[in-house]
């Protein structure tokens, strides 16, 4: 879609592809690591009047490596009655959904993994794969707590998939495209009542959609107040109860990487993506600045996620379903209707 650039211009297709694969892996792991350190270790510690890790590296920044090393050393335990294959495969299925999700997120005019015309649709579709992984983990563990957690997760994720998708529909109607890259351009080229100084981030017009997306995202990530499936004080840790070592680490990475990737999608859809006001979006410098802008927005949005996570108590399962079906979905449908009417009218 954009002309050749310095970065990828002279490279062959396979070279570009391998670069993007490496980029994708880096993006997922980098985001997960950043979020674990910045939010889980530090932000939460300060909220709870603690210091967090301080010993490993400056301000404990190398604690992450220590944690990974600890998990890698741990024994990989299989419960005796576990369905071995399903139990072993479940974390990979969950993580796969995250990796598939990250490919639709653009980081600059040419810094994209795939440039799909159905990007939004693809994102919503592959995000559902994690449900299968969680159900596999819940069933394969042969533990009652895991089973309850897995079933709760399935019910919850299916219920909250709907408001998530419906919240996005408003953006798609307004932008007139499902291509994530074009949605960024639509926001960059937009104007607020004729003033195009900062483009038109859709959070201004789709404020309700943004709110719904963030709530549904919190539920999709099974973070408090929607952490019924994990519910440490009642189901121990739900579907993750029986996992240890490397496989637990995969779930853990998956949790934080998915938080990052969902925030990235929210940033693209509602906050203008990688675009910086005042710089021509096709300028090559955006391929370098774009990912940094995205990372900033991701950290900002996940801050909200973790702020809620460590402040609120959790809903009960029935209250959670009521919220989805009786509040969020009607609100999302109304939002779509209003957006559609305004789109036709103007």
């Amino acid at each position: 879609m954009i002309d050749a650039t310095l970065l990828f211009g002279e490279l062959a297709y396979w070279q570009q592809t391998s670069l993007r694969v490496v980029g994708g892996l880096t993006a997922v792991l980098l985001i997960a690591g950043t979020l674990v350190y910045v939010h889980l270790f530090k932000l939460v510690s300060f909220m709870q009047s603690r210091l967090g890790p301080m010993e490993a590296g400056p301000f404990g920044s190398l604690q992450l490596l220590a944690e990974v090393g600890k998990f890698l050393q741990k024994e990989d335990i299989f419960p005796r009655k576990a369905d071995k294959f399903v139990f072993a495969a479940a974390p990979f299925v969950v993580l796969m959904s995250t990796f598939l999700l990250v490919v639709v997120v653009p980081g600059g005019p040419d810094a994209w993994f795939i440039d799909s015309d159905i990007g939004v649709y693809l994102a919503m579709a592959v995000s559902s794969i994690s449900v299968i992984g969680i159900l596999m983990a819940g069933w394969g563990s042969a533990s009652k707590y895991s089973l309850l957690g897995g079933l709760r997760a399935t019910g919850q994720l299916i219920a909250y998939e709907l408001p998530l998708i419906l919240a996005v529909v408003g953006v798609v109607i307004q932008a007139g495209t499902m291509n994530m890259q074009l949605i960024v351009y639509a926001q960059a080229d937009g104007a607020i009542f004729g003033w195009g100084g900062i483009g038109n981030p859709y959070i201004l017009t789709q404020g309700v959609g943004f709110l719904l997306f963030m709530i549904a995202m919190q539920a999709e990530l099974t973070q408090t107040p929607f952490d019924m499936p994990i519910a440490e004080s009642e189901l121990v840790t739900g579907y993750m109860t029986e996992y240890s070592g490397m496989r637990f680490l995969l779930f853990f990475i998956g949790e934080f990487a998915t938080a990052g990737v969902f925030s990235a999608i929210a940033a693209v859809l509602f906050l203008g993506g990688w675009y910086i006001p005042g710089i021509d979006p096709d300028d090559n410098i955006m391929n370098v600045l774009g990912p940094i802008v995205m990372l900033t927005k991701i950290v900002g949005l996940t801050f909200l996620v973790f702020w809620f996570r460590f402040t609120f108590p959790r809903f009960r399962e029935d209250q959670l379903q009521k919220l989805a079906w009786k509040v969020l979905i009607p609100l999302a449908l109304a939002n779509i209707m209003v957006t559609g009417i305004l789109k036709v009218a103007f």
């Binding site: 709870q48 009047s49 309850l148 107040p225 440490e232 004080s233 460590f310 609120f312 108590p313 009960r316």
Partner: protein, 390 residues
């Protein structure tokens, strides 16, 4: 003992709850879920065998005794002063309060009375152990409902009280400070000012909890109407303390059955709540912490001077007889029934601990609720495992 709230209204609520409970039409093959003995929500080793239909509890039965340490029997081979070191460990979060009723029972048998200063300091420490104990509950119940931060705040602010207890007694958890006829030591210099500052901090903590937990809609949705105990049912199961006061029964051992402590000379209020649900139990306990901090301020202001030890023989032999003394401990009514045959050691000690009675209502209460509500109810009943099993 009078119930302030409308009993008919409460039994109506209970009937509604019972109607909403078992949905036998959809009954499928049940599942038995063992909550515990190792489970984060039981903070100890309580086991609850819950028969589930889906996520609904058909029947639940608590299994106690995993932490039975046989204190009643051990007390029979300890001299009277040695027993306090044992009973400290019954309710380990508010341990000084465990010593008081035993010492009072021994004093009753020996017919000695502690000097006024000792009584006032004893009451101060008694109330401080309540503040330390219940402030932990306030954080813990929020933690059980999924909010992690209040628990850290509770541990942080309880420290102020524990530091003050440590300054007097030398022990943070197990003071072992109460003596027959008085106390081991007098207060250290500067303690009163420091304690008043700590109490101010605890009142701030209560404010914080009120905003962070009590004012939260999700907390209210999770705890209102959950685990409703009507006053008469609660009384028939022998509930005591904040658990029964939150069902509208206006009864507090400190006010209605005073024995050796100086609560009657203070200006304070017994808090009750008419609802009897988990929310009410949290609310009543929050008010009690506040009330206790105010009581401690009054106690420190009115502290009489004088000796802290009555005249007791060096080797304590308790004359033959029996005595039962109960006090309003942080978890509820705690009583010691001591029989003496005139020896160095008690002939028999029966310990009535509050949590054992409080937890006995769970089979009735847990019937028909959902799995998440088990946790809410257990957290709101507030038991300490050592207090159940002894």
């Amino acid at each position: 003992m009078t119930a302030i709230s409308d009993r008919e209204k409460l039994s109506y609520i209970a009937a509604q709850a019972a109607d909403a409970r078992l949905n036998l039409e959809l009954e499928t093959e049940g599942m038995t879920l063992n909550l515990g003995p190792q489970h984060p929500a039981t903070h100890g080793t309580l086991r609850i065998i819950a028969k589930l239909d889906g996520e609904q509890v058909i029947s639940a039965e608590p299994v106690m005794g995993y932490m039975h340490r046989g204190y009643e029997k051990l007390a029979e081979v300890r001299t009277y002063p040695q027993v306090t070191a044992l009973v400290n460990r019954i309710d380990w979060v508010g341990s000084f309060a465990n010593e008081v009723p035993f010492i009072l029972a021994a004093e009753k048998l020996m017919e000695v009375e502690a000097p006024p200063r000792a009584q006032w300091i004893r009451t101060t420490l008694f109330e401080m152990s309540r503040v330390a104990n219940i402030s932990l509950f306030l954080g813990d119940m929020a933690l059980q409902l999924g909010a992690t931060t209040p628990a850290f705040f509770a541990f942080r602010d309880r420290e102020h009280v524990l530091n003050q207890i440590e300054a007097v007694t030398g022990g943070r958890f197990h003071p072992n400070f109460d003596r027959i006829g008085g106390l081991k030591d007098d207060l250290p210099a500067g303690w009163i000012t420091e304690t008043k500052r700590a109490m101010r901090k605890m009142r701030q903590f209560c404010e914080e909890m009120e905003q962070l937990v009590l004012g939260n809609e999700i907390f209210a949705a999770r705890s209102r109407g959950i685990g409703v105990i009507p006053a008469d049912i609660g009384l028939s199961y022998g509930l005591s303390g904040a658990n029964i006061r939150s069902s509208g029964v206006d009864w507090d051992s400190r006010r209605d059955n005073p024995c050796g402590l100086v609560h009657s000379e203070l200006d304070w209020k017994v808090w009750t709540h008419p609802d009897g649900d988990s929310f009410a139990r949290f609310w009543v306990r929050l008010q009690e912490v506040r009330e206790s901090t105010k009581m401690i301020d009054q106690l420190l202001d009115g502290l009489p001077s004088g000796p802290i030890m009555a005249k007791v023989p060096r080797i304590i032999k308790v004359p033959a007889g029996e005595a039962y003394v109960e006090t309003e401990n942080p978890l509820g009514v705690m009583g010691y029934y001591v029989i003496s045959k005139g020896d160095l050691v008690p002939y028999r000690v029966k310990i009535r601990s509050a949590s054992f009675s409080n937890i006995s209502i769970t089979p009735w209460l847990l019937q028909g609720v959902y799995v998440p509500d088990i946790i809410t109810i257990l957290a709101s009943l507030y038991f300490i495992l050592g207090d159940i099993d002894r």
